[in-house]
Symmetry: C2
């Protein structure tokens, strides 16, 4: 646990923090954090897969990012806001670990190494969100689809065949395009021999060319 969590924190401190740790089970589709709720806990993902989304004023969902085990789910806002400005929803059966936020804050106050490690971890997480968003923004439809396929293959499943954990609609909400165009583009990739599709099962046949599409449209 220590090596996965914090690098410079002694075991004593860790145990002290985690003594009040609670684990929660969430089944697929369950809301873990609701946008607008007060922030009282500090949460990280132990197993499963979740999405961070925000509901816009027109009541449409935008997916901000995905989080995999040992990512913080309380990624942003935790230290800068009273209320969550995003929701977290399980897209696979998941287990979260919940720490009391006040306790975490107290430890950060008293232990500089803990605070620095926390800062490092949260900063890394938000960095990725920002850079990833900029990457997606600069691409057009095909590049964005290629991007998300490679994202799941490389970052989440580390394999060229995997079961898509998200619906076509969710892909659309992540890359900011319509469902129809997501479907069409996946079909096109299939026809062009870049991938094979059986429902949610994806097999990447030509990773190199997919990479090319992701980079240069």
């Amino acid at each position: 646990m220590q090596s996965l969590f914090f690098a410079h924190v002694t075991k004593d401190v860790l145990e002290d923090i985690c003594v009040h740790k609670i684990e929660r089970q969430h089944s697929k589709g369950e809301t873990i954090i609701q946008q607008g709720d007060p922030i009282k806990e500090f949460i990280y993902l132990k197993s499963g897969l979740v999405k961070l989304i925000r509901t816009t004023s027109e009541n449409k969902d935008q997916i901000i990012s995905f989080s995999k085990p040992f990512d913080f789910v309380s990624v942003f806002s935790v230290f800068s806001s009273e209320y969550y400005n995003y929701s977290v929803i399980a897209i696979d059966d998941s287990i979260t670990c919940i720490l009391d936020l006040e306790e975490v804050k107290r430890h950060a106050l008293n232990n500089g190494h803990f605070a620095m490690d926390l800062m490092y971890r949260m900063s890394t997480a938000t960095d990725h969100i920002i850079i990833d968003n900029m990457e997606i923004r600069k691409k057009q439809l095909k590049g964005r689809i290629a991007h998300i396929l490679l994202y799941f293959a490389r970052n989440i499943y580390k394999a060229n065949n995997f079961e898509l954990p998200v619906s076509r609609r969710e892909i659309a909400e992540y890359i900011g395009m319509t469902v129809e165009n997501v479907i069409r583009t996946l079909s096109e990739f299939r026809k062009d021999g870049l991938i094979k599709i059986y429902g949610k099962e994806i097999l990447i046949l030509n990773e190199k060319f997919l990479e090319e599409v992701s980079e240069h449209g």
Copy 2:
């Protein structure tokens, strides 16, 4: 200075940190931070206006955000990376204050309040970048232009007439559209009586309707 900078830090500590503070002057257009440079300093903006940009693999610039005085310029990556993955460029004559990063880190280690305040400030900054990016992403051309006009009017200049600090090209790099369409849309707003334009001078005539366009296209 104290109230603007950190809320819970005693004056002693602040003076200790700022004893090695250096001020630098940058004229409009000057590069303050170069993407790829090692991160050795902790920088905040004392006066002026700057843009954070990243240069994509196709050598095009994307504007990540703008920063105004007393924002940190070392917004992200500082505690999570060895090298800057963005550049900072002055878009007005600006003065930055430079602290030694190791010194800042040392103080964060020894002073929990300082660390927490730092975390709060950086978290707030990255939150804004993320939310703002999601806001822009969900809009289309006209909404994005309306958004940036209101952004400058409300957040930067707090007035309905102001001199645009950025070129049409820079607006395009911020909202992710082409220069031609930025120009066209501004002209359209002018023809529709929403704004007046004299070169870089902007006067917002119908803020309410501009707000409407920003929200609902």
